[in-house]
Symmetry: C2
Subunit: 420 residues, 2 copies
């Protein structure tokens, strides 16, 4: 499996190219060592283009990095948060051992150094690019690259958000269905109710709600490819009378609904727009309506890595719970329930990465080898971030402050007898 | 039951006193009407000392207020948030109908007017009085007034915090035991573990944990009366080998524990001291330790009523979730679970108020009639605040950011089979 690469592959790539210089000078070794010491001495081995190990903080390091040439080394030192990813994608940096373990080692080291001026300088305040037009462009960048591609590694319902594994050994297909059920139960959906969905991906949640809970759903999304797929599938499954997919921004939601649901959209909203989202919720919920937001989050506010912002998710940001209160507090909305599913996202991503790797040759044919490496790094880095607790997954249930028609306990989430 | 008073009682009080003036002038009626219009036209009837109704915004008003004399009227207008309570306690304001319904009507009206300059002027920024010495004095004020008194209306385990009613019809005794079990399950307590408790009341939680979960507990409290009671009871129940009650401030907690628990103390900590509390938690939790804070909260930050601060709970403040993040965020602590038990607190308080009223004659003998009225108003106002959603009850579970030994799902809270 390609997650576990070897330096052997690296040498083959190096041998097929013109390297910046065959010779490794003492200054190169000094630069690499200083750099790795500076980012917190990650538990990794490191070597330069002569194949000799330069850095090994611990004899037990199971992962390593090989740098192809001097230009790559200098780029890495100049801006590691951006250039590590780009040079990995281009094959100028190779990883020996499990990429997830490697990324965990890097993140752990950087976390130790988090408050140091040096790393802070690499991370700049994240600009807001989520105007109506900006969001459209940001979403297009990631979600409109081809439904065929996503079908290769997502579950058959095409959910591209954290699943809920009733048991750690549950399958991804079961876990995505369990996630949809968990959301429906948290919203206490009842036959005949109306639901509005902000950000619907390929539409699975809306179809599940309509099919299994007998509700009518209006789902908003600005990804054209996803909307086309969602509409076709709803029609094929005879659900188009109950589900309406609207190709429009969440800010243009109109009408009043028994439930508001948003799974995996808040990451793309941007903190400066949380008040607008709160306004949308405030005008969309009936007096006894329940709402649920499912989002990647953080314990401490930190901007996204510049590489992820540039190559994978432009305009994205995972909020802290404190930041999420900008949605609820101005409208006095009452938070009823928060569940943190962090380790479920690590597991979801592991399933995706396995399926991705199993299809890497087809994906390389659809795009190119650099694309495969870019996405491998993104998925592996995400697993690492969830595993070590840099990222969280929050499901937040809320309602209007005066609504007393709220679930009495949470026993309904587990199939226990309904309370009085 | 005294919650449902009648104006008849009011007239008897009036007849036994010298009123400020028998005659009601037009200016008195105008002042009362203007005042009630100014606080948002509460759905109450109102009359002055001649017994004639002056204000009735709606023919369906089931509750009313009678003001005994002109001085009371002027005090009410000058500072309603402080003087309504004091004049009610002194019997110079009488309520016709259910006091809880009356308070709900007042709070609903004030909420409509919340942003008006007039009411804002009544509420000032709450001073911090929770230094080590300040906290001692604040806690002494409320909790050291006599264990005999609290035994008259709390459950037999002496829990003075929100219960958890598995069914709305559960008894208070059962609901308090269910609450303790819920907390223990959320903390996943295991035999042989160690627990530190910040603020332990009369010690019921520590005894329950020791008896039913086989853990050792160190409980901190600065109420001398409570500590004396807790120690005696632990000894009588043979739990003094497992439970240690320490008469000291939470800021002096030392040692390292598998669990941190604090039920109903955060209300007395004050937002300026949340960072200190976070430091205590950060130094007290083992690497895989879980923590739980159970506290009254709010959706929107508002200071406590000055009457409650002065007469009932000096130095107290119910935080918003955003404000609570001052405990967790500086230390990167990970919030795993938030549950809002607002309506459970309304129900808990209803049980307490019923028991309180059933013992009002004994309580009047222990203190005096004014004390009975003060506490009746405090308990009734609290029911109203929870009923209409001005107050929340948050249970927050947290852990260290790197701890992956966290519960996989929440099914263990409901007696479902444990997951792998």
């Amino acid at each position: 499996m390609a997650r576990t690469e070897t330096f052997g592959a690296h040498y083959r790539i190096m041998n097929g190219r013109t390297s910046a210089g065959d010779k490794v000078y003492d200054i190169d070794r000094w630069l690499l060592r200083s750099f790795l010491n500076g980012i917190g001495e990650p538990q990794i081995r490191a070597m330069l283009w002569d194949g000799k190990e330069v850095f090994r903080p611990d004899s037990t390091c199971s992962v390593g990095m090989a740098i192809h040439d001097r230009a790559t080394l200098l780029r890495l030192i100049a801006n590691p948060l951006l250039n590590f990813g780009d040079d990995y994608s281009a094959g100028r940096i190779e990883i020996d051992g499990d990429l997830v373990v490697f990324m965990e080692a890097i993140y752990r080291a950087m976390d130790k150094k988090r408050r140091s001026a040096r790393l802070a300088a690499y991370r700049r305040k994240q600009p807001d690019t989520n105007s109506l037009a900006g969001s459209h462009s940001n979403i297009h960048h990631h979600y409109d690259i081809g439904n065929d591609f996503y079908q290769l590694w997502l579950d058959r319902e095409m959910l591209y958000t954290c699943a809920y594994f009733p048991q750690p050994t549950s399958s991804l297909e079961d876990a995505q269905i369990a996630k949809m059920d968990l959301v429906c139960r948290k919203l206490r959906l009842k036959h005949g109710q109306t639901v509005v969905e902000a950000g619907c991906g390929w539409g699975a949640m809306a179809r599940h709600m309509a099919r299994h809970y007998g509700v009518s759903v209006r789902s908003f999304n600005i990804s054209h490819e996803q909307i086309v797929y969602a509409r076709e599938r709803a029609k094929a499954e005879g659900l188009d009378g109950q589900v309406e997919y609207v190709e429009d921004d969440y800010r243009n939601i109109s009408g009043c609904y028994d439930a508001f649901v948003s799974v995996g959209m808040l990451e793309h909203v941007g903190p400066k727009h949380y008040l607008e989202l709160g306004k949308v919720i405030d005008r969309s919920l009936t007096e006894s309506g329940l709402g649920l937001i499912h989002t990647i989050g953080q314990n401490i506010p930190q901007p996204m890595s510049p590489w992820l912002l540039k190559r994978i998710f432009p305009g994205s940001y995972p909020p802290t719970l404190r930041e999420m209160m900008d949605i609820f507090e101005p409208f006095g909305l009452s938070v009823l329930d928060v569940e943190n599913l962090r380790l479920h996202y690590a597991k979801t991503l592991e399933h995706w990465l396995d399926r991705f790797e199993n299809n890497r040759e087809r994906i390389a044919d659809m795009f190119d080898e650099s694309f495969v490496r870019t996405w491998r790094l993104y998925l592996s880095g995400a697993i690492a971030n969830f595993n070590i607790g840099n990222l969280q997954l929050f499901q937040v249930v809320f309602t209007r402050p005066r609504n007393n028609q709220v679930p009495w306990t949470r026993s309904h989430l587990f199939g226990a007898p309904a309370e009085v």
